[in-house]
Amino acid sequence: MDQDPKLRILHALESQDTTVTFDDPLENEMILNMGPQHPATHGVLRLLIRLDGETIVSLVPDLGYLHRGYEKLAENMTFHEFIPHTDRLDYLSPLANNVAYVLAVEKLAGIEAPPRAQYIRVICCELARLTSHLVWLGTMAMDVGAVTVLLWGFREREKIQDIWDVLTGVRFTTSYTRIGGLAQDITPEAITALNDFLDRFPASLDECEKVLNKNRIFIDRCEGVGFLSKEDTINFGITGPILRAAGVDHDLRRDAPYLVYDKLEFNVPVYYDCDTLARFYVRMAEMRESVSILRQALQKLPSGPTNAANPKRVLPQKEKVYGKMEELIHDFMLVNFGINPPIGEVYHAIEASKGELGFYIVSHGEGYPWRLKIRSPSFSNLQALPAMLKGRMISDVVAVIGGLDPVMGEADK
């Protein structure tokens, strides 16, 4: 056993030996092992925190507890087969992941989905943003002590998942998009349910804001906490609401428009305080913008097909596969040999709820991707955690993680 007390504590933590004793515990810095099973780390994030009293001397995140090797799996399956796996990346907004992935593949293969599918995909992305932000709102408020908002947030999210149930057939792991289109068209029931929800949702959001916006405890726990300067935020490659809370007016929906975002009107909320409270305001404002985008998308929703007319690349409708020869052949070829996009490499990113979610695909002209890299926003955002917390208090850890809103399914891939 080492004589250095710090190392002895570390060994004691690792070996689960609880009998270790010290001559003078107050003289030592303490190493706190937070996670991987901790309610405030939002999944399986593990933090090794070196403490001097209540002050954080240094902090080392430890990732990989949810590493499932999706990039390796992707190299061994066809482009279509990977769609269900994208659900499991950021599992709070599976619909947005589905859309991001098929957009990358479509860019590679040179397919464009018909307008109706594009509008429905916008609806998917924005609903995913709402669910993700609602979970963030609830859990972050709970981390700093307000349990009520957690229940309200989850209540609203439950309503969106009921809409997903009608829209996609499942509540959670949606796998709704297909290369060149969608698994199924949006039904009138789904549109009615969505309209109903949009009518009631802003009031619920007001309710949450009323509880938090003037709440002394909430503001004191968030204001000035997790500060990271604008230059550092950019340098770390941070994207999404955290970047916009640092005063950078950057949103891929507007700056690199995909789908039909250039035909919709929306604002990009920007705050300048670089702290957890600013991140809270940005996300709350984004939810209101999402509601407005959803309303416009429903209003402008064109009629027409939802799948591109490209039988060599786009899966045929299942009903036709059982009754028509041509479709049966195409279905057989696509399922067994894949879509064989041209040789090349593309990167396509969308503005997901956490930031820039991108897929980099290298194709060698086969049915399988040669290399697929997932650019996950949570991974890049988490990287700044030590910089945000060094020299701060231990109680700020949960507030800052709440403000970062990482999802470990995405960070660990």
């Binding site: 799996l73 040179g110 490659g237 941070i238 090349g344 650019r375």
Partner: protein, 160 residues
């Protein structure tokens, strides 16, 4: 922007850019390995170009006799709203490449990930450890010669 970028790069580094290619409107430059650090530093600090954030960095295994690996940098200029992809070819016999984590802090974990998955060694990296897999794991799982099912016994189980 494309022309300005290429012109500036050719002025500053006449022989650094080996290949310029474009596919689906995405510009890709293959940079000579020895020049990657000065090129990145120039791209980041030049006020006209100002590629101020790194969005992605990854390795790739092309499974060919020469220059088996590649490191791919995906950098973004907020000022010009422009995305650029740089590539460096790396031979299996010499897996070293200069780390860019001193230029963009965001490259730190991304380089650790590439090291974890492909065994590419980033010189000058402050903390080159595996990021996902345990430190005692001996293989590099995203290499094409690593089997999909894994290697039995390669991951030590926790002590009971």
């Amino acid at each position: 922007m494309k022309d300005l970028l290429l012109q500036k790069l050719r002025e500053q580094f006449p022989s650094a850019v080996e290949v310029v290619s474009e596919f689906r409107d995405e510009l890709t430059l293959i940079i000579r390995k020895a020049d990657i650090l000065p090129v990145c530093s120039f791209l980041q600090s030049n006020s006209d170009l100002s590629f101020d954030s790194i969005r992605d960095l990854c390795g790739a295994d092309y499974h060919r006799p020469d220059d088996r690996f590649e490191v791919i940098y995906n950098i973004y200029s907020l000022k010009n709203n422009f995305r650029l992809r740089l590539k460096v070819r790396i031979d299996e016999k010499d897996l070293h490449v200069a780390s860019v984590s001193g230029i963009w802090q965001g490259a730190n974990w991304l380089e650790r990930e590439s090291y974890d998955m492909y065994g590419i060694l980033f010189d000058g990296h402050p903390d080159l450890r595996r990021i996902y897999l345990p430190e005692e794991f001996e293989y590099y799982p995203l290499r094409k010669d690593f089997p999909l099912m894994g290697i039995p016994g390669s991951l030590p189980l926790p002590r009971k």
